[in-house]
């Protein structure tokens, strides 16, 4: 562009690279730590080049887990977290798209009341109703179940609003044409609305998958048994600076494996991710 000198561009590259290094360093550090033996990790300064125990550490973590957490293998923690994240993402999309469909394409008494009932949940995040919600979960015997981890989190005002917004842009002629051709509400939904919503669904899926994967307060309350922990909660429980038995090499491997899946989703589905971020914040 006019006015940008060659040195200005070089400086821009330098600042960006510096920024990337700062942003990436903590992850690099943990990855390096995950390839060293436990005692080497806690003896500062830790070496900043990879150690020779990559395969050994990852195998031990993946199949045997941390002894101070009842030896739940990391594959189990990953499975729990994946079930929770996928359940939340799919659940939110399904119940939001049907709600938005009802609100936009039908006329019935109480329509706007229901819309507002859903909208107001925006103002009731888990954090402001922790104790009573916990009590509901206990009464329904949902502690330590996948249902308990997923179900209460799938109501979504944001996703409903997003689908509603999108459905309102669909021209009435399309509905009319479909009706003249004899399509009922199910056929219209399946053959016209769903294909049109594909990119919106993909964008929401990425955002909601990350939302589910990174949950903290809810799984902390909902899980007592070590086998039901999500990987983030398990990692938190493994770490202790006072306890000399903390298996640091397992901790570091778990940390890397907890970060990797959602990061891969963001990197590989970058277009959907960016779209999702921008859309859900409108």
């Amino acid at each position: 562009m006019i006015g940008d000198s060659r040195w200005g561009i070089r400086l821009a590259h330098a600042i960006l690279i510096l920024g990337i290094l700062i942003v990436a360093f903590p992850l690099y550090y943990v990855f390096i730590a995950s390839t060293h033996a436990g005692p080497d990790i806690v003896r500062p300064p830790m070496p900043l080049t990879p150690g020779g125990r990559f395969i050994e550490n990852y195998r031990a973590a993946f199949f045997e887990g941390a002894a101070n957490l009842g030896g739940v293998p990391v594959w189990r923690l990953l499975l729990n977290t994946a079930i929770m994240a996928l359940g939340i993402a799919v659940g939110k999309i399904v119940i939001s798209i049907t709600s938005a469909y009802a609100i936009v394409f039908f006329r019935f008494p109480g329509r706007m009341v229901f819309f507002w009932i859903i909208f107001v949940t925006l103002m009731l995040p888990v954090e402001v109703r922790i104790l009573p919600t916990y009590k509901v979960m206990v009464d329904l015997k949902l502690i330590d179940t996948y249902t308990g981890l997923i179900l209460p989190l799938i109501a979504s005002a944001t996703a409903t609003l997003l689908f509603r917004q999108f459905f309102l842009t669909i021209p009435g002629e399309l509905v009319e044409a479909a009706r003249i051709d004899g399509a009922g509400p199910f056929k219209f939904f399946k053959d016209i609305l769903l294909p049109l919503s594909k990119s919106n669904i993909a964008a929401l899926f990425v955002i909601l998958f990350i939302y589910g994967w990174t949950q903290y307060l809810w799984p902390l309350l909902m899980t007592n048994q070590a086998e039901m922990n999500t990987i983030v909660i398990a990692l938190r429980k493994m770490v202790s600076f006072v306890d000399h038995g903390t298996p640091w090499h397992i901790v570091m491997v778990t940390c890397v494996l907890a970060i990797l899946p959602p990061v891969l989703v963001v990197v590989l589905m970058q277009r959907a991710f960016v779209r999702g971020l921008v859309e859900t914040e409108k």
């Binding site: 200005g8 300064p45 609100i103 402001v128 009573p132 994967w213 938190r236 971020l277």
Partner: protein, 294 residues
């Protein structure tokens, strides 16, 4: 909207809405109403008897020095986090808009922390900076800095702010890039032809035109720091040392689950609800319009 073509079914829309409504009723409205009720009750420690006490819980909470401390901590924490995350992301976004080669790679390498759980972001920083094994603590102390975030208030706050802001850089970066792309090139080029230097162009044209984006991000970052950083606090400092990093959300959890003060915790929840309503109102009233100020 009244002229919209719709399907004539009468029962179907209720069935379509039913799952979402059932979940909101059981897991949102019922617990929220319970929080309201409990906030006006006092329960004995064994949970055998409850008495209606009106607004006494609120009066007690608002007069409690620990609560007021927590309000201050939350304000400092939220504003520092928002400011730091914005201040780091803006130059990166401006630079990313300047370069042509490697743009995509830079973007990919800057956005991934969005996917890191706040609690894990906290632990990453804790691994680097905890006094027992952190390499950076070692370096700091080797250079004569008395570094101990587990004992020193300011250092503990600095650590949680750094971790919380680190995770948010990627988000702000993306929105700043989008904001920068919306600024007409012709304006900047005209200024360049008139001889305005790079920094001058930035502060007189780019920065003011970016104000709506910045304001939007300020609100979003504050909300993030308020509610989504429970994990950072819980994983890194647990509110300590003393109560130096006890944010409002952490205090609700701590008083309810650890100290079992139900009435007080419920009253705090209700106050937080008020805060959320206020922030949501601000978001919808002012942010949605995306206007330029001046």
């Amino acid at each position: 909207m009244s002229g919209r073509v719709v399907f004539p079914n009468k029962l179907l829309p209720y069935l379509l809405l039913a799952p979402q409504l059932a979940i909101t009723a059981v897991f949102f409205y019922w617990p929220a109403s319970q929080a309201l009720k409990q906030s006006m009750q006092r329960e004995d420690p064994f949970g055998l008897q409850t008495t209606f006490v009106g607004l006494a819980n609120f009066r007690r909470v608002l007069a409690d020095p620990n609560y007021l401390n927590s309000v201050k901590v939350t304000a400092v924490f939220s504003l520092s986090t928002a400011f730091l995350a914005l201040a780091l992301a803006l130059p990166l976004a401006v630079m990313a808009e300047k370069v042509v080669r490697g743009k995509g790679i830079y973007r990919t390498l800057l956005i991934w922390p969005y996917a890191v759980a706040p609690a894990i972001a906290g632990m990453l920083w804790l691994f680097l900076f905890n006094p027992a094994m952190g390499t950076f603590s070692y370096l700091l102390r080797a250079n004569g800095v008395a570094w101990d975030p587990l004992l020193k208030d300011g250092q503990a706050m600095g650590l949680v702010v750094a971790a919380a802001a680190w995770k948010q850089i990627s988000y702000n970066f993306l929105f700043f890039v989008a904001g920068l792309q919306a600024i007409p090139r012709s304006l900047i080029e005209a200024a360049a032809i008139d001889g305005a230097s790079g920094p001058k162009r930035f502060w007189t044209i780019v920065f003011p035109l970016l104000a709506p984006t910045t304001f939007f991000l300020l609100v979003v970052n504050t909300v993030y720091a308020f509610f989504d950083t429970f994990g950072v606090i819980h994983a890194v400092t647990q509110g300590g040392p003393g109560k130096a990093t006890e944010t409002l959300v952490y205090k609700v959890y701590n008083d309810g689950f650890v100290n079992l003060q139900l009435g007080s915790s419920a009253a705090q929840s209700v106050i937080l609800m008020g805060v959320v309503i206020l922030l949501t109102a601000i978001q919808f009233r002012y942010v949605e319009r995306k206007v330029h100020y001046g």
